[in-house]
């Protein structure tokens, strides 16, 4: 008898669910921080996808785990930059909604 965690479809569905809900939040949210949270969801889904491919289809060398570690580093630096930008925007315009940001429009 195969367990639930021995089937790749379950993990694939969870990773795709994270991607789908991240896309929904990216369109639906109105503040920059909400969009940032959705991007984190998408990155987590990508990491889960890499690890499941590593475990189910190529288990000799943990390449997927290595790239998930790289994704974690990229996500951490991205959040640091985004925090700085959001704070700068908040001090300048007293609001973090992207609709109020018209300075970079041509």
């Amino acid at each position: 008898m195969t367990h639930l965690w021995d089937r790749p479809e379950v993990f694939q569905f969870l990773a795709l669910f994270l991607l789908g809900s991240g896309l929904v939040g990216l369109i639906y949210r109105r503040t920059l921080l909400g969009m940032l949270i959705s991007v984190e969801l998408i990155m987590n889904g990508a990491g889960l996808n890499l690890v499941l491919a590593d475990r189910f289809f190529h288990p000799t060398v943990p390449t997927g785990e290595v790239f998930t570690l790289f994704i974690m580093g990229v996500a951490a630096s991205e959040v640091a930059i985004a925090l700085g930008i959001v704070l700068l925007l908040f001090r300048r315009s007293k609001g973090i909604e992207p609709e109020g940001l018209k300075e970079l429009k041509g």
Partner: protein
């Protein structure tokens, strides 16, 4: 159903609930906590996938560092009543659900068409992960560290610029 399957179902429910709450909740603080719930669930999934080192890193980096940074950002971004409403108009929500659902369904169909050959389970040790990083991808490793240094310098510069403009 044995204990392992029960725990697995609980973890999957954590991931799904956390993702839905992070996207749909009305307050940003709750959204961050739901995101932390989903990240913890993903750490549990990593253990079921035979990657305990990655589960530890998930708890340390995502739930620790990224979670604290996001909570700081939410706290520093002004009081609640001054913020705009989190959720957009109804049409935008319908479009968002359509796009997300379409991506989910199409990608699931694509993955379902392929017949996957599943290997037997195997847990990887931290030593193997370290060897894979250092033997196979040293350039990518160094580039990630360069990226982190650049982002730290950029964050400091953003803070300095905002302070100079105020004073």
């Amino acid at each position: 159903m044995n204990l392992g399957e029960l725990v697995f179902l609980c973890i999957s429910a954590m991931v799904v609930l956390g993702a839905l709450g992070a996207v749909l909740s009305n307050s940003l603080v709750y959204a961050v906590f739901f995101l932390l719930l989903a990240m913890g669930g993903i750490g549990g999934l990593y253990i079921y996938l035979g990657a305990p080192f990655l589960a530890m890193m998930q708890v340390l980096i995502y739930m620790g560092a990224v979670g604290v940074l996001l909570i700081f950002a939410v706290m520093l971004a002004g009081p609640f009543w001054k913020r705009p409403k989190e959720r957009g108009p109804f049409v935008k929500g319908a479009v968002a659900v359509a796009v997300g659902g379409l991506a989910l369904v199409v990608l699931l169909r694509i993955l379902g068409h392929h017949h996957w050959e599943v290997m037997p389970p195997r847990a990887s040790t931290p030593e193997e992960v370290g060897r894979a990083i250092m033997d196979r991808f040293p350039l990518a490793f160094e580039l990630v560290s360069l990226l982190i240094v650049a982002s730290i310098i950029a964050a400091i510069m953003l803070g300095v610029l905002s302070r100079r403009r105020e004073g």
